[in-house]
Symmetry: C2
DNA sequence: CGCTACTTTGATATTTTTCAATCTTGGTGG
DNA sequence: CCACCAAGATTGAAAAATATCAAAGTAGCG
């Protein structure tokens, strides 16, 4: 896949129907990207920026051009449940009854397009083809959420972590298929919030994967896959 | 909300933006419902009918008029992970690259509309307003999947079950707001698959909720809520 | 260079899973 | 109409895993 310039917003998703080439489509046309750029604002935000909070009035939808974002909910216990990690070409901030359902934080430095909901709605209703691509995208995110639910239905921490590494790898393959190292820009605490584990369990599961010689942590935010087959086997052994 | 006749297919979802009344919109117009009915086939299926299997070629999308459907995946371990329970006015069977990502089974006797994917796609691209309602619906299902992920990130079985009962209650409130009993048409095994617990744990959690006098099981498929406040408190104590 | 936030490691407690046996219930056929 | 059967559900005891609490170790950043 040719790299897509990020001067203007775009999306990727898999189609409903079979395509001859298995490339992910849903990429917007240059024309559609210009239209989005016209109604939206390009923002460059430092890491750890709070982009919006759960329950706040939702005026915008966001499309990521670069970087990683997490969406999460604060639970009554004080725990933060991470609902998703989002990457370049992903969409987030779809509100319910005019209010955001999650909070959103920049994990790394990010470049996002902030799209006003009202104008986006008008645009989508006028451009049926673009709307279809949004539909594909949201469907794609639904399937991602289902995959995560399957991950969470596992009981063993090393297995959950192995699946998580698989998800991250698949994500990053789109950007750089040759990479044999997986980047984990989020903290262990974020991972714990995503994996439904305690922070300590994530740490121990990491050590366990390393002990089994499946991966090697080059540093806290970078894992090299040592035994791809073994890691995949563990990830698939749900 | 007035009951909607099910002669023709429909959908419900919550809007992105704030509506004066908080009723769930996204309900199709009579005209749109007729268009769907025209391209689709109304099917009446007995309980336990297999509607499609994971990996099969996806020719149709389904809309439920009556009854309950489960979508699930068979895991390598033999466990069945239930990805969703679906009810009247829900949509399922959205494929990826022309193949179903889950299998679908009728839990009860169901009436569904089977919509040919190719024709539906054309229809959506022509009827921008209907497509927007599909977008709302899929977004709604995405949020449901996120809620479930939060449920799964809990560790305690009684808490998970309490949240599940809350979800079921919210679902059934749409149909019959006055009901103080929750119907659980699925088996304990299905619930276990949805909750990421063992069948035995679901059984024990049910007994525990009853012991705490939060609910009373009238029979295996029907629970009466005895202490609504206590049940909600437990469900919210994530 | 030292602080602070993040991470790892250790020991114990809690919870669920697992394996096994028993009990119910709904459907079927004599 | 009743008895039987099989699938589904419950209960019990032991084992396995993670959570929790506590303390020590790292690493990045000013």
């Amino acid at each position: 896949m040719a790299p897509v310039p990020h001067r203007v917003p775009t999306l990727t998703a898999l189609p409903f129907q079979k395509t001859s080439a298995e490339t992910s489509v849903g990429v917007l046309t240059p024309r559609q990207r210009e239209e989005l750029a016209r109604i939206g604002t390009r923002l460059r935000l430092p890491a750890r920026t709070l982009m919006y909070e759960e329950g706040a009035e939702a005026q915008w939808v966001f499309a990521i051009a670069e970087g990683v974002v997490k969406t999460y909910r604060e639970l009554a216990s004080g725990r933060r449940a991470v609902t998703a990690f989002l990457f370049a070409r992903d969409l987030f901030g779809l509100a319910e009854n005019g209010r955001y359902v999650n909070s959103a934080h920049a994990v790394t430095r990010v470049i996002v397009y902030r799209l006003p909901l009202a104008e986006l709605t008008v645009l989508l209703k006028h451009d049926s083809d673009m709307q279809f691509k949004f539909l594909l995208k949201v469907t794609h995110e639904l399937r991602e959420a289902q995959r995560r639910a399957i991950l969470l239905s596992r009981r063993d921490a090393p297995g959950r972590l192995a699946m998580f590494l698989g998800l991250m790898r698949a994500q990053q393959d789109r950007e750089d298929p040759a990479a044999c190292a997986i980047s984990l820009p989020m903290t262990r605490s974020d991972m714990a919030g995503f994996l439904g584990l305690s922070l300590e369990s994530v740490s121990r599961a990491s050590a366990e994967l390393e002990r089994r010689r499946l991966v090697k942590f080059e540093n806290r935010h970078r894992v090299r896959v040592v035994d791809q087959a073994g890691l995949s086997r563990l990830a698939a052994a749900v």
